[in-house]
Symmetry: C2
């Protein structure tokens, strides 16, 4: 318990006042940022672009025909936005063949015996059963501790990892990071002890029977056993059944890896008027999983990024530095686009002064989070008063984005991630419910405008 001083609220209010008002704002900046938001909220094109991408191209898994259509769309959309320069940057991407023919069912005997058909989606990059039906007794574990405790009982079994999403995490990305280890590494951890296959409780905040996909990462020391996502309700149902009966799982699938294929980062630039050789990168990823439409993940991020070109043209602003919009290839199951981009930057001795990514959904923007030096962070944080009127309430530390991570690792480029409100994201992330209709126009456009405002500030104030 504390002793509250009588004048403490007064001091607090004084501090808040100073924090909010001491940074005298540059009135040109303030006016330009208002123009950015006014344009985007009234005449922005990101929502219509997203509609086209989701409904005319749809899901666009790396190496799929739709991925190439999306690349062509991206290039054309950059040209339509009157990018000074729009081009493709080739890389090779893994090709995961997934015919969506997986079948999973459970049977159990005893007085209340029965059978349950389970909605299932093979995890990205996973191997299937080669079209054969395999079967095994279900072993349910909630975490790796339980797996290790049961390691003598796993040979030939089918393991369900039923680790629930921690709903008490206010930042849902923390809940995601906490749970996603079972999706990524659960298969190999079980294969080590001879398991035949794994089922993964979807890494989802929703209570339903929609499986959520995502990458599996096999450890080459162990067999590549099938790894399949099931909905959170089915996971709970199986876990309950397994406490009462021996449950047998039957499972069939055909997914497998094919040879790498060429793909492309799609790039559009506005040439800098003063420092064309210095680059501010803004992007999201073009590829998506092969369920849903990849609307929030990451259709939103790429249409927001392209929107910056529209915005700067519409308000008549010519950046001093080159603004380069990048639709990265293959974020979901390889990160080959992000790696290629940084490799090319190194090969060409490019100067990257900052990189911004939107890959957390097209929801109401609430913060930017950056990974940069302390000195850079102080400048970055000082811009909060420019963005606060538009709902950005925090300039935090530690963010970025998967695709721009390699720039940071190679060159210590300051990287910044747009952080929208994340409460709805993991209901639909990597799921068939991630469709255009789940995106709100104003929320999407506020994010695009916030990114443009941040790029404007970096362009004028440096970082």
């Amino acid at each position: 318990m504390m002793n509250r001083k009588v004048n403490q609220p007064l001091f607090l209010v004084a501090c808040l006042f100073f924090a909010q008002h001491y940074t005298a704002q540059n009135s040109t900046h303030t006016a330009t940022i208002k123009k950015i938001f006014d344009y985007t909220l009234t005449r922005g094109k990101a929502y219509d672009n997203l509609h086209y991408l989701c409904k005319n191209i749809g899901q666009r898994l790396s190496g799929s025909k739709a991925m190439y259509l999306a690349e062509a769309w991206g290039l054309q959309t950059m040209k339509n936005a009157k990018a000074d320069n729009a081009y493709l940057q080739q890389c090779l991407v893994p090709v995961w063949q997934h015919k969506k023919d997986e079948k999973v069912s459970a049977t159990w005997s005893g007085e209340k015996g029965g059978k349950l058909k389970i909605a299932a989606v093979a995890l990205g990059n996973s191997e299937g059963t080669g079209g054969k039906t395999i079967q095994g007794t279900l072993v349910v574990v909630h975490n790796y501790e339980e797996l290790e405790a049961k390691h003598n009982e796993l040979a030939g079994k089918i393991i369900l990892y039923n680790y629930p999403f921690d709903q008490t995490r206010i930042n849902t990305f923390n809940g995601y990071r906490d749970a996603v280890t079972y999706r990524g590494s659960g298969a190999s951890r079980a294969a080590k002890y001879g398991a035949a296959a794994v089922l993964i409780r979807s890494v989802s905040t929703a209570a339903d029977n929609h499986p959520h996909t995502g990458s599996v990462r096999y450890n080459d020391s162990f067999p590549r056993i099938p790894a399949i996502a099931i909905g959170t309700m089915h996971a709970d149902q199986l876990a309950t059944l397994a406490t009462k009966s021996e449950v047998t799982i039957k499972l069939k699938s055909t997914s497998t890896m094919l040879a790498d294929a060429p793909a492309h980062n799609v790039i559009g630039e506005i040439k800098g008027s003063l420092y064309p050789e210095k680059i501010i990168t803004v992007g999201g990823h073009l590829d998506s999983w092969d369920i849903g439409e990849g609307a929030h993940d990451d259709g939103a991020g790429i249409v927001q990024s392209i929107e910056l070109i529209n915005i700067f043209h519409a308000i008549g602003y010519t950046p001093k530095h080159t603004v380069r919009v990048v639709l990265f290839a293959n974020e979901e199951n390889g990160l080959r686009g992000g790696n290629k981009y940084a490799d090319e930057a190194a090969a060409k001795n490019e100067i990257h002064i900052a990189a911004i990514e939107s890959d957390a959904g097209g929801f109401s923007p609430r913060a930017f989070n950056g990974t940069m030096s302390e000195e850079q962070y102080m400048k970055f944080a000082s811009w909060l008063p420019y963005l606060k009127p538009y709902g950005i309430t925090d300039m935090g530390k530690g963010g970025g984005g998967a695709d721009i991570g390699p720039l940071q690792q190679k060159f210590k480029t300051p990287i910044i991630g747009l952080s929208p409100d994340g409460q709805r994201y993991f209901d639909l992330h990597h799921c068939k419910t991630d469709v255009f209709e789940a995106v709100n126009k104003r929320e999407l456009h506020l994010g695009a405008a916030a990114m443009a405002a941040l790029v404007y500030l970096i362009d004028n104030e440096g970082l």
Copy 2:
């Protein structure tokens, strides 16, 4: 342009640090607030309660059969939550008869003549045509200035107010307040000049053909002419047509006011352990419009309010003051419940130390806004650090709620409104799209927990 001092960012960061950390937090408060959020996010019942209300009772216009069912549900839900005391407080409410039989169409002649059927909803409390079809030439105005300029041309005409929602307002409630005058007063302003009826462009951020309803307020000096909402796209289409052709509107409807009927505020209390005579009121409104399910407006607010009883029981917290949960009658088209509640408070000499309302949608909570004395505000604002970890980034001035407004007016009771993210709200407000499926569980529950945390702070620190 400003001259930036070199050490300014440092000073800013120091200020931010003080603002965030100077108020040494009471560790009991911090721990209790965490319990509140942990419970609500994992085991809260608000979402399930909302599902029942929306799907088993649905829309609940004042005086309708469903309103009485909703009252009974509310009372039972308070009892299920183990309120110490649950009861009804009677008032009389206006009864607007609305058979949803309105028909509106437009015809125009000339080379490109044609006919358009227009989705239409009579505005709340409005009079119809008595079942007769009336017709008149369309006159489109964008605002009252244009209406006044054309006042000699309005006799016998049908006026369309085509005032667009100002999408540049970041706080959409400001856009709503700006535009809603045409819905409220447009009919009488046109009737003054002999208009036969008015069509109102829906006060909506969406581009679609869903009409949004809401109250009309007739001025008794002029005839009560029909007032009908149409979708934003139809409004634009009519406005364009009218620039090219003479457009005739045909219109038929039967809505009318009936005699007042009894209704009830539904009240549930947790008796205060130390100051049972001092009351903290928490509420939303039970009634809704008769399209959609009143899910965000204001099913969300009432299930969040009821949730406080569940929360305090679940975490084992007994408030020192009486916490009174009120599901107010008739907010939408009369405010009779809110007025009755304040009248009864006066008649019984009740002591109300604060009142909180949730009536801005069940979205991610972002702020509380209060109307209170400066001294009270300083205390209120000093609680921000307790709520910031849960996404509340502002304790602002000037909010409250329609139903608790009369308490403020009568007794200067501090009133506080929960302010969730409002970007999606006016897409669905007063519209058939305001259904359960538009509410996200985590967003709804975060709001309930934030309200419980605020009540806990008021209960312990006073206001």
